[in-house]
């Protein structure tokens, strides 16, 4: 690419203007990454369709825009954020609310639970636990294909920090509610770091919501370290409005015999890109990567998954499903990489999509790159409509066409939802998806302040 694009220069400028202020608020270790990351971002730029990893996604609609507000936490709003409660019945979680990418200031920024688990602000943790941060921060989030990861590293300075010590099994999930709210169009970048030490168990739900109708752009990075024999589940529920753009990059590093799952449930959003990177770094690790997206209007949903089998005898399983209505477009790009010594790998990948209208469009790119021979790998992808035979089967039992369609779509989606282990959340998702499919408002009523 010749020179720096206009869009990219916006963000270069943004960095130069704000870097002193950002650095002034952050820990030295986090700051030590900024310059290098900025240089890599400058070289790579805001991804365009010429980048293989963004072949079907045009970011300019959201990136080429004057956002008015950026990095300044507004304390006044925190009170409101603190009041926010998710009310899914029976869902008992440890709640955290992030507002515009910042951890609330009130009541202290870092808590220790009785079992030794630390939950709180990343920025705060970086000051308090420099040795932990030095061991993990910036170690997993890296990309040769996505400049936005570096843009985040260059400028982000707060987000959620979770530390689960050896052998601690947290019975309640941690629920992070990411709120964006502003009177002005806003760009924000937060950064999460999750450390699950060996033999520990932990699950986390991240809910994304936009509370005001402004244009929002979020570029978030999550790094997770999962120690030997540890378990980690991550569930994302994305329910924003059509003027919100959410870019997430999730890097999960796994040690020996660890088990993880990631589940991206996308119900609403103008432009959503979820990149999930699974690094199977220890023998016998297992991961499942799930995704479900339902889109209509002009929404664009892009799921990018990379599973790196870097160690022998690991197992991975990807299942991504999409239903596209009206003018919505979807992209799936799934990659399985089996490195030369990763013998005994089992890796599976499936992507199924349904187009409901002539204007909906789906591009899918499942990929296998295999450098070891003792492997069992497969992938499959389909793009089509509801199965006519199944439709008739339902109708022949007296179920009318509309209901039959709904049931089949629901069944299609449920195959992903059923993998959520937290029962109240699973039921809620089933519910939301059914409502969404029926065309009823599917805003996470329980999770939302009335945001219109």
């Amino acid at each position: 690419m010749n020179g720096i694009s206009e869009v990219t220069s916006r963000y270069l400028y943004l960095y130069k203007e704000n870097i002193d202020r950002i650095s002034g608020m952050s820990s030295p270790y986090i700051n030590s990454f900024r310059k290098g990351a900025f240089e890599r971002f400058s070289a790579m730029g805001i991804p365009t369709k010429k980048d293989e990893a963004y072949k079907y996604t045009n970011l300019n609609i959201f990136f080429d825009h004057d956002y008015k507000s950026y990095f300044i936490p507004e304390t006044a709003d925190f009170i409101k954020a603190e009041e926010f409660r998710c009310d899914i019945a029976d869902l008992d979680t440890l709640g955290i609310v992030l507002l515009n990418g910042f951890y609330p200031t009130i009541n202290g920024k870092l808590h220790q639970l009785s079992n030794g688990v630390w939950i709180g602000s990343l920025n705060e943790a970086a000051l308090k636990f420099p040795e932990l941060i030095e061991k993990h921060y910036g170690k997993y989030a890296n990309s040769d294909t996505d400049g936005l990861v570096h843009l985040n590293t260059a400028m982000a300075h707060d987000g959620v920090f979770v530390y689960v010590p050896d052998g601690v099994k947290l019975s309640k999930p941690v629920q992070v509610v990411n709120l964006v709210q502003s009177d002005e169009d806003m760009f924000s970048q937060h950064r999460n770091l999750i450390i699950v030490e060996k033999n520990a168990e932990f699950s986390m739900i991240i809910c994304d919501h936009a509370l005001s109708p402004n244009k929002f752009l979020t570029n978030a990075v999550t790094e997770a370290y999962v120690g030997e024999n540890a378990h980690f589940d991550l569930i994302r529920v994305q329910n924003e409005h059509n003027a919100a753009c959410k870019i997430t990059h999730t890097f999960i590093h796994q040690e020996k015999n660890s088990v993880t799952s990631s589940n991206n449930m996308t119900l609403h959003g103008g432009l959503i890109r979820n990149s999930t990177y699974h690094h199977l770094g220890g023998e016998g690790a297992e991961t499942s990567s799930y995704g479900l997206f339902l889109a209509d209007k002009f929404q664009h949903i892009d799921n990018y998954v990379s599973v790196d089998h870097a160690s022998p005898k690991c197992t991975s399983n990807q299942l991504f499903k999409g239903v596209l209505d009206e003018m919505a477009t979807g992209t799936f790009n799934g990659r399985i990489l089996v490195r030369p010594d990763a013998q005994g790998t089992m890796a599976y990948q499936r992507n199924n999509n349904i187009l409901l209208t002539d204007d909906a469009k789906m591009d899918t790119k499942p990929q296998l790159e295999i450098y070891a021979d003792d492997v069992k790998c497969s992938h499959g992808a389909t793009i089509g409509q509801l199965d006519e035979n199944a439709m008739f089967y339902l109708q022949s039992r007296g179920i009318n066409k509309r209901e039959a369609r709904l049931m089949l779509m629901f069944g299609f989606a449920h195959e992903v939802i059923q993998n959520i282990k937290i029962e109240p959340l699973r039921e809620r998702m089933d519910n939301l998806v059914m409502q969404r499919l029926r065309g009823e408002l599917s805003r996470c009523a329980s999770c939302m302040v009335k945001c219109g």
């Binding site: 293989e52 409901l356 209208t357 499942p366 296998l368 295999i370 021979d373 790998c377 499959g380 389909t382």
Partner: protein
């Protein structure tokens, strides 16, 4: 048992390339390197009309603005185009009226390759156009075919005898701007085959082109144009070999197929260019653009390829399904052994309504070979009821090789059904043991399994060549399983 397998693997991997000889034939060459002058010289050597020279120059100028594609999953060494000889031809007497006029050494060469140029010794029902280095040396059965109105001749001859046909179709499927190697070919192509099947004619025999690189330091840039007029049918086969040399040689060809209404074209390739030695030295760089258009309704183009040769293969025989109800097929077996690399696959572009495509790709990687399937299935907005089914399997023999699958599915029509499946696995030890237990040696077992694996594709070849292909598979893989 593990050891035995390794040993057999080694033995087989070192299987010699049996077409590696070089013939001592007097060859006319031009100076090495590429420039507008060279393009003009080639055109002049062939006494070409002005329009063709213009086409070449246009292509050359465009090529200068282009860069080598970097997207394939291949490690391609720098190619110095100024070190390549772009035109080499066996010296012949001017008029080639009978077989006796052919240089006996040339005849011996083709005999040795199993391609008899004499019609009395012909392969049952196969007409052959034999191309050595830059020119076509002999086309058999022309008269028999001419009686039915079928034109089958060298490309250069077609330019002389049927300029209007060539002009009408050349570059319509693969434009000179298409890609780096297509532009290069359009500038410097030397010869190739031309074939026209008139309306309503079913070509009674297999047509075949045999390509042979002989001269050193040359590139081969042939061009094939195949037009099947309404309601016609033809089955076409190409084969290729080259001498064993330490340096790499470049082969950048273009094949264009046009299928009119209700026409059917089967195009089969058995590609056995010299793959380089077992340390990866030498071998052909095979960078080929092959594309067919199903122009009329109900037309059908079917590509079958057995790719066992070349150091590097970069090739995507494709179908543009423009006519309603047209069908495109791609059946491929690609073998990479030793240091061979292949990035091959297809594109199926659904434009017409009710168009169908089928992709069956079987990759086999052995030694340090790297084998990638890359394919695009694109359903355009108006292509209602398009159907595609793709099955891309990879078989791994040994732990130093790689198998990769890069499908792209782009669907812009709700009524389309596009399905892609791929699996990657190695030959199961239990399968080998099962054979062993029934008294079959490990080597034979591997042969059996690989042939079984590739059968679906091999079965698509014309019979005479299916047997050949099967042998070829065995030779290129012998002992490569661990």
């Amino acid at each position: 048992m593990e050891k035995d397998q390794d040993k057999i693997l080694n033995d087989v991997t070192s299987g010699e390339y049996k077409y590696g000889f070089h013939s001592d034939i007097e060859t006319e060459r031009i100076q090495k390197g590429l420039s507008e002058d060279v393009v003009r010289i080639i055109s002049a050597k062939k006494n070409e009309p002005e329009w063709l020279l213009e086409f070449r120059l246009k292509s050359y100028r465009h090529w200068l603005t282009m860069k080598m594609p970097s997207w394939p999953n291949l490690k391609i060494p720098q190619i110095n185009y100024q070190e390549i000889i772009f035109y080499a031809a066996p010296v012949q007497r001017p008029a080639l009226n009978s077989l006796d006029d052919i240089d006996p050494e040339l005849k011996r060469t083709f005999d040795k390759l199993g391609i008899p140029l004499g019609e009395q010794k012909h392969l049952a029902g196969v007409a052959v156009d034999a191309v050595m280095d830059s020119v076509s040396v002999k086309t058999t059965f022309r008269e028999t075919l001419a009686e039915m109105g079928i034109i089958f001749c060298s490309f250069s001859e077609a330019v002389r005898e049927y300029p209007e046909l060539v002009r009408r179709y050349m570059g319509t499927v693969v434009p000179y701007t298409d890609n780096f190697f297509a532009s290069l070919n359009s500038a410097v192509f030397s010869d190739g085959s031309f074939c026209y099947i008139p309306k309503g004619v079913r070509c009674p025999m297999e047509l075949s082109t045999y390509f042979r690189i002989n001269a050193a330091n040359t590139g081969q840039f042939e061009r094939t144009l195949l037009v099947a007029d309404e309601e016609s049918y033809v089955s076409y086969l190409e084969g290729c070999t080259a001498p064993q040399r330490d340096e790499n040689q470049l082969h950048a060809a273009i094949v264009e197929i046009i299928a009119e209404k209700n026409a059917e074209v089967k195009y089969s390739t058995v590609q056995n260019w010299y793959p380089g030695d077992k340390d990866g030295k030498g071998g052909i760089f095979n960078f080929v653009t092959k594309r067919g258009i199903c122009k009329g309704e109900n037309s059908r183009i079917s590509w079958t390829q057995i790719e066992t040769g070349s150091a590097i293969t970069w090739k995507y025989p494709s179908c543009i399904l423009r006519g309603d109800n047209s069908t495109g097929e791609f059946y491929s077996v690609a073998v990479t052994n030793n240091h061979q690399q292949a990035d091959t696959g297809t594109k199926m572009i659904h434009i017409g309504k009710n168009t169908k495509s089928t992709i069956v790709s079987k990759g086999i990687s052995a030694g340090k070979g790297q084998n990638s399937y890359r394919g695009l299935v694109k359903v355009l907005k108006n292509a209602s009821n398009a159907r595609n089914y793709s099955q891309c399997d990879s078989l791994l023999l040994g732990d130093k090789c790689g198998a990769h699958t890069f499908p792209y599915l782009e669907v812009d029509n709700q009524t389309a059904i596009v399905e892609h499946e791929a699996t990657t696995s190695k030959i199961g030890e239990d399968q080998i043991f099962y054979c062993n237990q029934r008294g079959i040696s490990t080597e034979d077992a591997i042969g059996l399994i690989v042939n079984g694996y590739a059968r679906e594709v091999i079965n698509k070849l014309p019979m005479e060549f299916a047997v050949e292909a099967q042998k070829l598979l065995q030779i290129s893989l012998e002992g490569s399983v661990g």
